[in-house]
């Protein structure tokens, strides 16, 4: 049984990880090269009178010792205040709140589809091991996996948007798009198609490879021979006796790959000019916008830790052996 105690233990463990991540979150932008002043007033920042430079620094609290800055950051977090973007001139929470839905709209389905597609293809390849299908898929997926997302995205953009003119080059969503109407939805799908395809294709590789090898393992196990000797039809052998036990590591991979897909989103959203968190991150990095970066990283951190927690909590549901080991 998945006991309350098990869940509580896991959640506590992940809460600790989150805390450590928050500290890192605070430190990383500050040790990274570059000066926030440059981001705020541009390259000419150095030309400002020293007093004015100092005034800006003081206003933003950047002259305080790091401990004090961290204290302020932590206090703000607890109150739900993520700070004020140097660059956008808006509270970080508001900016993130505006962008988050777009990213969820793009990443959620892409994460799920790459997992489902990867698992299904991996299963097919394992079942037909050594066949043309297996070798073809293996080559194709390894090739896709070797392409960096920005390159894949650019190629799709050049091919389908520029040459064939099937999709828009810029995937930004118009403000007045009526999502409740059929045309509005169609327009949305049309605009999302390329970045969605890029993220899905570039996320699929690990699922394919893991499912394939995990399933080759289970298909060679004794209980699969037993299932066939029992008279199970091929489909039942593959799904129930082959795939089902092979899915355990895949659940873990889902948690792990959340980080990759978020990292991919930074690049892909930038390539497609999509107004999500990834693009925001890219802009914030260029502008040395510390509070913005911290805010975005916070969301990413929560997403990655959340996905891993979810994978951890589903594990005992998938594997009775994990359940009783507690």
């Amino acid at each position: 049984m998945v006991t309350g105690r098990y869940v509580a233990g896991r959640v506590a463990q992940y809460a600790l990880v989150l805390l450590l991540a928050l500290i890192l979150n605070f430190i990383i932008p500050r040790v990274a090269p570059g000066d926030p002043l440059e981001g705020i007033v541009g390259e000419s920042g150095a030309l400002l009178p020293v007093e004015e430079q100092r005034a800006i620094i003081t206003r933003l609290g950047l002259d305080q010792p790091l401990t004090v800055q961290f204290g302020r950051y932590a206090r703000g977090l607890i109150q739900g205040d993520l700070g004020y973007s140097y660059n956008k001139g808006q509270p970080v929470r508001e900016v993130i709140g505006d962008r988050l839905p777009f990213t969820l709209l793009l990443l959620g389905p892409a994460a799920v589809l790459s997992a489902v597609l990867g698992v299904m293809l991996g299963m097919r390849a394992a079942w037909r091991r050594g066949s043309a299908t297996d070798i073809g898929l293996l080559g194709l997926v390894l090739g896709l996996d070797a392409l960096p997302p920005f390159f894949l995205g650019t190629m799709l953009l050049v091919g389908f948007a520029v040459r064939l003119d099937l999709f828009p080059v810029v995937s930004s969503i118009p403000v007045g798009i009526g999502l409740l109407s059929l045309e509005g939805l169609g327009e949305l799908v049309h605009r999302l198609a390329l970045p969605f395809a890029t993220l899905t294709l570039s996320g699929l590789g690990p699922y394919f490879l893991l499912t394939r090898s995990s399933m080759l393992g289970t298909l060679g196990e004794d209980h699969v021979l037993m299932a066939r000797a029992k008279g199970c039809p091929a489909k039942q052998v593959v799904y129930r006796h082959g795939l089902r036990p092979a899915l355990l590591p895949v659940a873990t991979l889902f948690g792990l790959s959340m980080g990759f897909i978020l990292g991919g989103s930074v690049v892909v959203e930038t390539v497609f000019s999509y107004p999500g968190l990834g693009r925001l991150t890219y802009d914030a990095v260029l502008a040395r916008d510390f509070p913005m970066l911290q805010g975005v990283f916070l969301v990413f951190t929560i997403a990655v830790i959340g996905a891993n927690l979810l994978a951890d909590l589903t594990h005992p549901l998938l594997d009775p052996r994990v359940r009783s080991a507690r």
Binding site: D222, H223, M226, A229, G231, R244, P245, L318, P320
Partner: protein, 316 residues
């Protein structure tokens, strides 16, 4: 006519270098109510024989020649779909105890239910009742149905597998070393159980083992295999006490005894590489009685004093 009849069965594994004959010209009958034990060393083709009867010989192996019939019906000519409906329903398989032959993520009850769903028309309630019934038949508690395989001991797991095999009421059970890897007491309990089930349910059991005394004690008839061929066949207890073939004789002599001399007699040499079986009698390089004929011509099975034996010593 026997329930299971194998006639001139040949099973080979194709490797890039050679065609390896794992089962060569085997004739074997198993009748209802009968327990037949097949004895041989590793690599003698015992397991392949069982898998061939289920038509589940793994690639690159295949049945090359011969016939398999069950209750008079030919199995080799059946379509794969028809063969599948026979597996589990008419011919049950009991794998080695040492193997992990239960799905680790399904409860015992779910796995027995799966067999019943495949092969019977029972409704939900009847299925649950049948699961409880077969568990009781193998002397397991009903609550085992809710357990997962890893929560059971080796002996309990093997009982659960027997329950699963017997649930759809098969006529024939093929058991591949059903008790290897279990400790002696559990082994005896399981064999007693199998014997009782065969007698009570009127099953036919073909059991493969490398343990000659076990076969002699629990089976009606014993078959000794060597290099994929049957070398001797006869009433089980007699085969241990009065073997005719030099190999069977050597096997019986190589057993540890509680009393008597400490040194075990070994069979010199080793099991031949199945891709390079010696010309003539396959046992001739290891046989202390071998003479010229043994190195020239393979002996045929002939009937000698209630046994069938393939040895030139006993011919004419």
């Amino acid at each position: 006519m026997a329930l299971l009849e194998l006639r001139d069965l040949h099973v080979s594994y194709s490797t890039p270098d050679a065609e390896v004959g794992a089962v060569v010209g085997v004739d074997l009958d198993v009748d209802t109510g009968e327990v037949v034990g097949v004895v041989g060393e590793s690599g003698s083709g015992k397991t392949t024989l069982i898998l061939a009867a289920l038509r589940l010989v793994p690639l690159p192996g295949r049945i090359v020649k011969g016939s398999i019939s069950l209750g008079g019906g030919d199995l080799r000519g059946l379509s794969p779909a028809r063969m599948r409906t026979l597996r589990g329903k008419d011919i049950a398989y009991v794998p080695q105890a040492a193997m992990n032959s239960m799905n680790p993520v399904m409860t015992v009850g779910a796995q027995i239910t799966e067999s019943l769903d495949l092969h019977t028309d029972l409704n939900g309630r009847q299925t649950t009742a049948r699961v409880a019934e077969v568990l009781e038949m193998v002397e397991l508690e009903g609550k085992i149905a809710r357990r997962y395989p890893h929560q059971l001991s080796g002996g309990m797991r093997q009982r659960a597998i027997i329950a699963m095999a017997l649930a759809p009421n098969p006529q024939l059970v093929l058991a591949d070393e059903p008790t290897s890897g279990l400790d002696v007491l559990v082994r005896v309990q399981l064999l007693r159980l199998l014997r009782r089930l065969v007698d009570e349910l009127g099953l036919a059991l073909l059991m493969v083992s490398h343990d000659l005394p076990l076969v002699a004690r629990w089976c009606d008839r014993a078959v000794v295999m060597y290099a994929g061929r049957i070398v001797e066949e006869g009433p089980a207890p007699e085969l241990l006490t009065n073997p005719l073939h030099p190999y069977a004789w050597a096997l019986a002599r190589s057993l540890p005894r509680l009393h008597g001399e400490d040194d075990l007699e070994r069979i010199p040499g080793e099991v031949p590489d199945l891709s390079r079986v010696p010309v003539g009698c396959p046992f001739n390089p290891r046989c202390i009685h071998a003479f010229d004929l043994c190195r020239e011509r393979a002996p045929q099975l002939i009937s000698v004093g209630g046994h069938n034996v393939a040895c030139h010593l006993h011919a004419g």
